[in-house]
Symmetry: none
Subunit: 195 residues, 4 copies
Amino acid sequence: MTQPSPLFDPETARGRLLASAARLFRDKGYAATTVRDIAAALGIQSGSLFHHFRTKEDILHAVMETVITAMLDDLTDQLAQAQTPREAVRALIAIELAYLHGPASDATSVLFHDWRALSDDRRTALLQGRNAYFALWDQTLATARSAGLTTIEPEILRQFLHGALAWTSFWYRPDRPLSREALTERALSLVLGSP
Amino acid sequence: MTQPSPLFDPETARGRLLASAARLFRDKGYAATTVRDIAAALGIQSGSLFHHFRTKEDILHAVMETVITAMLDDLTDQLAQAQTPREAVRALIAIELAYLHGPASDATSVLFHDWRALSDDRRTALLQGRNAYFALWDQTLATARSAGLTTIEPEILRQFLHGALAWTSFWYRPDRPLSREALTERALSLVLGSP
Amino acid sequence: MTQPSPLFDPETARGRLLASAARLFRDKGYAATTVRDIAAALGIQSGSLFHHFRTKEDILHAVMETVITAMLDDLTDQLAQAQTPREAVRALIAIELAYLHGPASDATSVLFHDWRALSDDRRTALLQGRNAYFALWDQTLATARSAGLTTIEPEILRQFLHGALAWTSFWYRPDRPLSREALTERALSLVLGSP
Amino acid sequence: MTQPSPLFDPETARGRLLASAARLFRDKGYAATTVRDIAAALGIQSGSLFHHFRTKEDILHAVMETVITAMLDDLTDQLAQAQTPREAVRALIAIELAYLHGPASDATSVLFHDWRALSDDRRTALLQGRNAYFALWDQTLATARSAGLTTIEPEILRQFLHGALAWTSFWYRPDRPLSREALTERALSLVLGSP
DNA sequence: AATGAATGAGGGTTCATTCAT
DNA sequence: CATGAATGAACCCTCATTCAT
């Protein structure tokens, strides 16, 4: 099962800072989170944040970039191991859910839902990594369609599936009776039907 | 086709205010939108806003409440006209997409994506209307499942579908080659498969 | 005798703000003056300053631009009335001292001594007005030299004289036994000798 | 010709620190220069500065005190060698220009133009050294007046001359066609007329 | 000596909100 | 109703200074 280790190294001040910031951004939104909130969560003064990051936006950027890179790496690995088109689609889902509800859940939620808060320049820069990630989705879904597993165009299906999974951050809790594996199967049968 | 008339009456100062605010909240987020932004969009001074609404949050609340009420009304109407379980599910989708991409798109996007910005009290109050709306979804999807159209539990399917549709506000543009009707069919075949 | 009326209209909030700011900039320097200092001198809150000026530097710029324009106007007038080269040089000195020690003394000191605090763009823009002013000095001093009143090149003499007069803001006080007229005569005899 | 050796010993860390600080203070002003600026110019961390000086103001004080002492020593020497009142006045000017445009130019500019930045206590303390220096000026100029070389009172003439020379730091560049010797002669003829 | 993370006060600025006109 | 100046709290960020290493 995909189980990412903590995205941010809890041994370093920088890692703890990013983890705390991600949590707050997720809960309150980037704009509504103050640097004093972040500092308070770490037990330091707000001025001290700026030894690690030059601006508040740099923190957001670092959070997002870290998730983007890690997700792309993990997805590449998992797709390489998938034996069938169905397994490949399951990998798409499993990784997305692992990030959204595993140790990286805060950062992943921020990446998905606070995209708007980045400045244009920054957003454009990060878009490259995102596009590479979604290109893998499109390829995988196109293969599934060729194999007759779905009739929906890959780009549209990708957006539907990504939306459905991103939305789980608002309602799914890992401690629910529904396990992440079970949730993965539900999503898989949404996209490809029951086998 | 479901075609809601403008949510906010452009004949009244209040209606124009809400429409402008909704547009800005959608584009920049509630927290990042200033009352001066809203006032400037209306060609008035920021102080004048407060003759219409006591606080900035009141504006957000009014926007959301208006959409919630209208969506609930429209959905009730449409479900009453649906002849089959499949048509009923199509109505769920059609209405959601009509709101997300028709004249009420700004307000609907705000309702879906800036939920967090409301204070706890306000959020709880609005949740009643939302719950009534989603109860209709659950019933409809339960009926569809009983009819053998899907195997996924109604609550889970509802969240998947709602997420997939909510996400279209980030990528679908009505002026695209893909018509709203076509998009509706794609979503329907995602949920229930091709007939 | 040249007696400029107050540079900044004490009837308007903007005028009072500029007068207070000029005084503080003169006493403590631009960088060492805080917007809270300025606000306190006016009996308002610091945030209120920003209804009148967008930034602190805008205040400095407005102070300087006002003096520059007024000095150029006054000098043009006075030179037109001078009958002899010696009288023309006296006008240069009299106006400079009138600004440095009359009602505009704060703003003029700031203009002379806090030039560095302006951003490059702003400085370049203001330099146009300053250059026009000094062009009049150069012409006047060139005429005096042609008339045999001095042997020093106009540009050099201009800088010497301007420096000598600018420096009076650090030591001369109008309430001293030495009147401004007497000081003017001393400066005139420095430049052109005793007649 | 008066040619002071470097004020600050480039062989010692302290000397290099003072030289760098003087340069920055001159360029940006004391208040606008940060201790990080100074540290960066030396290639060290800002915290390390405080092994050499207890406060930022101590640095400014050391810069000023060093110039004051050196100028007083040099002036005493040069006046002792002057044979005539005119030569004595030339020495006043030559030393001032040597400091303003020779190897000590940064520190001297700071002394002349950032006097305001010192705390009251420090300023009062340094004023003793300055007063001794200017007492020599006053004596020299009084002698020149007794000799009929000028009609202006010594204190006033001193301020005029000091201002005119101090101002050269804003416009005169040693690499100009005008040599420092030539500039000295111009200033001398300003004060005493052409012989 | 030097580091570099941390401090904590204070910097300029923004902003929702108020209110006399 | 609308204005626009004012508020005052809060914002992000800077800075001189400290200190354990």
